[in-house]
């Protein structure tokens, strides 16, 4: 799922420093699963911001709302009655959320309360790691089910580079060298020959490099796009 980290309190407070009445909008999707933008986190942020304001001798009126998802116009439409009651809205959804909100409610200001980072999963409670870079041409089966595009710091197709040491990437001692894992997996399976030869060039047109993307399920589209 999409993983994000909450922006610092200072950054968020600065965004709304002139506002007296705001809404914090959470999301029950990915950000709830990675504990950064669900109901609990929305409440924590609201309380923290009120504490900060009171300390300055000022006040702030904060309402909270947690949408089913902020990446569906159907759910985003759900706050149409109340959205104009506020001077600004902080969305704790991933980067998609505040954009969908901005597109629907053109007269309102939506601030991102989180920094959206990567597609990943929880490797243990409280820890999420990147697994996918969204390159648009998945070929992990050529690498023993591991992705070098997302998990190699240099996205090598023919790794490992000379900086791989003890299974660790040269960039960070906490980062696994995925090529070390790919090679060892092939060696253990007796399939080293799969890694001989030069892997073909990556076609980056299906990745973000080719421009902003669109995915269409023809069978579901009603009317024109």
């Amino acid at each position: 799922m999409i993983v994000a980290d909450r922006k610092s309190l200072q950054e968020i407070l600065a965004m709304v420093q002139d506002n007296k009445k705001i809404l914090i909008a959470g999301c029950k999707g990915c950000v709830t699963v990675c504990n950064v933008g669900g109901l609990k986190e929305v409440e924590i942020l609201a309380s923290s911001m009120k504490i900060a304001r009171k300390k300055e001798g000022k006040d702030i009126d904060i309402d909270i709302q947690v949408l089913e998802r902020q990446c569906d116009t159907e759910y985003v439409a759900g706050i149409s009655e109340i959205v104009d009651d506020y001077e600004a809205v902080i969305s704790l959804a991933c980067g998609v959320g505040p954009q969908f909100l901005s597109e629907m409610y053109k007269d309102q200001i939506f601030y991102p309360g989180v920094n959206t980072t990567f597609f990943g999963g929880a490797t243990q409670h409280g820890v999420w790691e990147e697994r996918c870079a969204g390159c648009g041409t998945c070929a992990i089966h050529n690498f023993g089910g591991l992705c070098p595009i997302a998990r190699c710091a240099k996205s090598l197709m023919n790794g490992p580079c000379g900086g791989s040491s003890n299974g660790i990437c040269e960039v960070n001692k906490d980062t696994e060298c995925i090529w070390d894992s790919i090679v060892r997996k092939k060696m253990e399976a007796g399939k080293l020959e799969d890694l001989l030869g030069v892997k073909g060039l990556k076609d980056w047109t299906t990745a973000r490099d080719g421009g902003p993307r669109r995915s269409i399920r023809e069978e579901l589209v009603q009317g024109n796009i």
């Binding site: 240099k154 490992p160 030869g197």
Partner: protein, 310 residues
Amino acid sequence: MSELKSGSNLEKVLTAGHFAFTGECGPPKGANVAHLKEKLSHLKGNVDAVNMTDNQTAVVRMSSMAGSALMIGEGLEPNFQMVCRDRNRLAIMSDILGAYALGIRNMLCLSGDHQTFGNHPEAKNVHDIDSMQLIALVKKMRDEGKFLNGDDIDVPPKMFIGAACNPFADPYEYRVYRLANKIEAGADFIQTQCIFNMDKFRDFMKKTVDMGLHEKCYILAGVTPMKNAGMANFMSKFVPGMDIPDSLIKRLKGVDKRDQSEEGIKFALEQVEEFKEMEGVAGVHMMAIEWEHMVPEIAERAGVLPRPVV
């Protein structure tokens, strides 16, 4: 390996069967041509070719292409280095053509140290293609006379293709296969990462010779003379891919601080002597970074002077 591919001096020296001796030079952190020329002056006549590094350790310096072109003007032969970290395939092909047009004939294909090591860590990571694909690319341009998309090249670049090899990185058992891959992709010569762990390197060369790789490609052993124990310690801890045995650090620490550089040079000279006789090793790549003025003395004491004129 009968007809010359590029006609470069390095290629001629190796093809004639001589023990090659190449050097290295880092370009200046600016457009300081005088400083570059001064560094190069120490290498002239003492080496067959000089590597001109490409934003090494991700620290911004004058481009390798410019440094290489200036080198030709000084009467030396460059080994133009190119990393995949900073440029996409368009810029890469374009630079190869430009380099050839400027008289450059040797090219080393590298991945490049990650930009987070350098002085501009916020930069975007390119890595459109990797070093293996780069080797294949240069070979395609040279031998087929075609760009990646199959279009014809108007005067193809005839480069002598080099690649790097780090026998000390992990997984160790795989390194010789990676070397085989690079040679298969088109590498004409290899320069290894600087060697300190001689036991491991001897073992690596045995595997390399067993696979017959030394017959398909010229392998040059990397040597870096240690200036002092502090340098050995630093490299061991902070430079990726280094394997520096404790015995070497101990040996350097064992002498007076003033004598450590001499001890470092002695070790390097012992290495060169062994490499001259080692099966599969076609030469030495001397990386006396920021110590270029020592190269004439080292070359003299190593008994590799005068360099052959082919």
